[in-house]
């Protein structure tokens, strides 16, 4: 516990609502937990290799699906989903974080721990719905889309980083949160922001493992 506990001055004071002190394992803040795991417990790979590999996948899909961007989006989502349902185990094994009591907490775990541990970014959490069940993640430095410029025909249809939505959907489903995850806007398409919307449909109460509470 030598690490200083930095207070989470959440996006526009959101963290103060509901969840109280946003603490991770050992009473540290989620941010400190995420930073520590990223720094000391995770092997890194070359970011450019990663970006280029993803680019190769997307461009190959464009070829395979004859530039039918709706299908490509679905395919990327499906690929992400299959990653997410497996990646969640890695995340839980690494962090051992307790179950989130509400979506506010979930959003913080996603932004400060999950994105941090796997991609070394912390998307901003904004645009809360009134009932606090839907929010947006604003990604400033999307590592998937470094070096990328969409061709004219793809600007309208393709969600280039749609794999992220799939990953989130799959991972959340495995911890019994049935959510809709979709891109709202993407800098690659000429928008101001890269924004992913996450909306909780319901908590799959029947599927919560027995023994948790």
């Amino acid at each position: 516990m030598s690490r200083p506990v930095s207070t989470i001055s959440g996006q526009s004071g959101l963290s103060s609502s509901g969840s109280g002190a946003p603490l991770g394992g050992q009473g540290r803040s989620l941010k400190a937990t995420g930073d520590d795991i990223w720094k000391n417990k995770t092997e890194k790979i070359n970011a450019e290799l990663f970006t280029l590999t993803y680019g190769a996948i997307v461009s190959q899909l464009c070829e395979d699906y004859d530039r039918d961007f709706a299908k490509i989006n679905d395919q990327l989502f499906q690929m992400g989903y299959n990653i997410g349902v497996r990646l969640i185990e890695d995340f839980l094994a690494r962090t051992a974080l307790p179950r989130c009591e509400d979506m506010v907490r979930t959003s913080e775990v996603i932004s400060k721990c999950a994105f941090k541990v796997f991609l070394n970014i912390s998307p901003k959490v904004t645009n809360w719905s009134a009932n606090k069940e839907a929010f947006s993640l604003v990604i400033n430095d999307n590592p998937l889309s470094d070096f990328v410029e969409l061709p004219m025909d793809a600007m309208k249809g393709l969600w280039y980083s749609n794999v992220l939505c799939g990953v989130l959907k799959g991972a959340l489903e495995m911890v019994q949160l049935d959510c809709d995850v979709a891109f709202v806007s993407d800098i690659l398409r000429g928008d101001q922001l890269t924004e992913i919307k996450i909306k909780l449909n319901r908590v799959l109460k029947d599927e919560i493992p027995i023994g948790e509470d």
């Binding site: 394992g25 050992q26 540290r28 520590d36 000391n40 417990k41 995770t42 092997e43 349902v85 497996r86 990646l87 969640i88 185990e89 890695d90 839980l92 094994a93 690494r94 051992a96 307790p98 179950r99 495995m174 911890v175 599927e207 493992p209 027995i210 023994g211 948790e212 509470d213």
Partner: protein, 209 residues
Amino acid sequence: MAIETILIINKSGGLIYHRNFSESFASKLNSNDFLIIASTIHSVFAIASQVTPKALQLTQNKVDYTIPYIPMVGMESSANQNNRGNPEMKLGSYKGPDYFRESFVSWNKSGLRQLSTDQFTMYIYQTMTGLKFVALSSNVLSSHHTTANGTVDKTKSANLASQVADNFLRKIYCVYSDYVMKDPFYSMEMPIKSETFDKKVKEMVNNLL
């Protein structure tokens, strides 16, 4: 703590991994027996969470489920590493020397965590996704083993053993998340056939001896 057997049970009670590490009672059972044991553990686990007395349930929010971090459980000792001239042990996508190094909160709050008999002790670690990691240990927390202040020692050692087991099983979970979940040819909820995973688990069990 000598581990006889490791079982992994998926969220629907199916046995997806089982390995015996010594010629003991467990190795006399066939694979069908283990399937039955797995689903029995799965249901007894659920029943255990139901039989918690009401009085305990009401005060349960005061229970501390934190498991302290016990350094290097199941890891190769540094002396051994130096002997082999191999200072860094490969831990997959985890950066050494240990898989984690902070205390953590158990997800298993009302389910079965430990079962002690005269022959063996069983430890269960359940993850948030419903996966169960089960370790059968030949160590017996027997009542014959009375010291000067017998009862106190017994609970203490039982507690320590269960903490070691939780630390160990979380590490098995780490290995599982690396070598099973990231195996592209593994299909979810199906038996684990990965040899690398097998090797890693074996190493960790041997280090524990």
